[in-house]
Symmetry: C2
Subunit: 314 residues, 2 copies
């Protein structure tokens, strides 16, 4: 159970009076929260998710909530934070920063076909285009700076081969200049379970709490390593082609991005290998994590490093 801060019916009823979304019908805690406390909330107006933020700073929350509101304003099916009567997206409930957002509908598709990958690519393209007019800044919280800070914390838990792989990949990534790659706001975690489908179309995109400013192509590589791989972790050419082509139609990839694609697939693999090892080996107070097995992303990293095929697919 991951309701870190409990909320009573009276407290929620009173809190909702600062919003224009009707009166409370019912609510229930969501057990799957990792860092935050989440409730499903139903009012006379509709279905929402209430989040009490346990860890994120106000600066981070301002970025995330305004980004979600920006996407919603552009018609991206992101959770829309509801503004209170004072026009604030971030409130406070039981001493915690809190926000209420619209609840999305649909189902994640864990065995995506090429058409689903195309839908994900198009959605990412739309998000990157819409993100161009979002002017707040937050460095990707799991970007290269975080990799370099985290690797030393993991050393005690790694065997020799793992250490060498981390060091070698960090050195390789640091040796490549990325200055000429287009940058912008990225979701940075658009795995299959953060996308909801309704009748074959994407009806929801969520979990923006790792978003930040970084290389746009990195976002696409995160997707490819999750949506377009076989059980062994190898890229499935047809699905990857579908993802990239759909994205490219919206935001045409430039020559530097073609060249950087193998590098980005490695970077995206490294990022999740590191964070999964971090979640496994470095538990933090006040977080309940059921860590994913890091091994899969070690395997994906090795496969991407070994790739000697053409740098670009299709």
């Amino acid at each position: 159970m991951a309701v870190f801060t409990s909320v009573s019916e009276d407290e929620l009823t009173r809190w909702l009076q600062a919003y224009a979304i009707g009166t409370l019908i019912e609510f229930e805690g969501i057990a799957s929260g990792i860092e935050n406390t989440n409730y499903f909330v139903t009012t006379t107006r509709g279905r929402y998710v209430l989040t009490l933020f346990e860890k994120l700073t106000r600066q981070e929350l301002a970025f995330y909530l305004n980004l979600m509101a920006h996407y919603a304003r552009h018609g991206i099916p992101a959770p829309a934070p509801i503004a209170d009567h004072g026009n604030r997206l971030l409130g406070e409930l039981n001493g915690k920063p809190a926000a209420i957002v619209t609840r999305l509908s649909g189902k994640s598709i864990m065995q995506p076909a090429a058409a689903h990958c195309a839908a994900a690519g198009a959605m990412l393209g739309q998000m990157h285009l819409a993100g161009q007019s979002f002017h707040m800044q937050l460095e990707n919280p799991r970007g290269p700076r975080w990799w370099r800070a985290t690797a030393p914390l993991l050393r005690p838990f790694l065997d020799q081969a793992q250490r060498e792989l981390v060091e070698s990949e960090l050195a390789f990534q640091a040796s490549r200049r990325l200055d000429r790659l287009p940058r912008g706001v990225i979701h940075a975690d658009l795995f299959r379970d953060n996308v909801l489908f309704n009748a074959g179309e994407i009806g929801g995109v969520f979990d923006f709490y790792f978003a930040g400013n970084d290389v746009l192509l990195f976002d696409l590589a995160v997707c490819a390593n999750d949506w377009c791989v076989d059980d062994a972790g190898e890229i499935d050419a047809e699905r990857a082609q579908a993802l990239l082509a759909a994205y490219h139609r919206l935001r045409p990839l430039v020559a530097e991005e073609h060249a950087a694609w193998p590098l980005m697939l490695r970077a995206a693999a490294l990022r999740f290998w590191l964070s999964r090892m971090y979640d496994l080996h470095v538990p933090r107070a006040g977080e309940i994590i059921h860590p994913h097995d890091p091994h899969r992303f070690r395997r994906i990293l090795e496969l991407r490093r070994a790739n000697t095929g053409p740098p670009w697919i299709g």
Copy 2:
């Protein structure tokens, strides 16, 4: 047919590329437009309404579109204008200012029970509260200034009794000071046909193109004269009570508003009597209007003037 500016499939497909709402599936003109050209548009993302504005100025449109976006941000079920990649709510299509907004669902209820009136009152209360943090200004385009400017244009078409009624009511309204009544953004036209219900709850509020800054109580009087009247135009006490009580729970009415209620009911009746006579007698180029019969609001005005009951209901 009121598609003043036609749009081809190719033109719309191209235009939608500036937005993040997927690709065109189908679209069709809406015949009921009076001043603007409207199309229903279905994309891979959802259902929208495209409007090409034939008359409104850019200043008026900035107010209306930002107001609708503001309400949507607050969870009010208003049509949400979609921002383009440059974050603009107002675009241009075939030489006309144009915007695309989300399409609402639900049905108007033309024979409202007290519960529907309560829902309308609560919605108006929510809108007035949410409107407090909207900081653009536009004078109510059909407010007292418009009444005074319009009455002389109607004189040639009125008989003696009508002229006297207009003059008498204008003089009465002008003699009352409204300085102490709370002001804000009002919808100003929240008739039954501008509200959509889904399963007894309001699922949509639309037609914001008469909104502006004015006395909040005027908005409630416009509602009461439409939602809470019998066939003869008399106020139905039960429905009016339901409307007012639901509103009052959200934004408690102050003593000055209690006292001004009969005045406001007369003002709201005058406004629609004048505008319906104007639509009937003073046709404007480029507008296709099927004028409502002005007589009903003359009758309502006479009834409100004759009301000698208690100034406040309930």
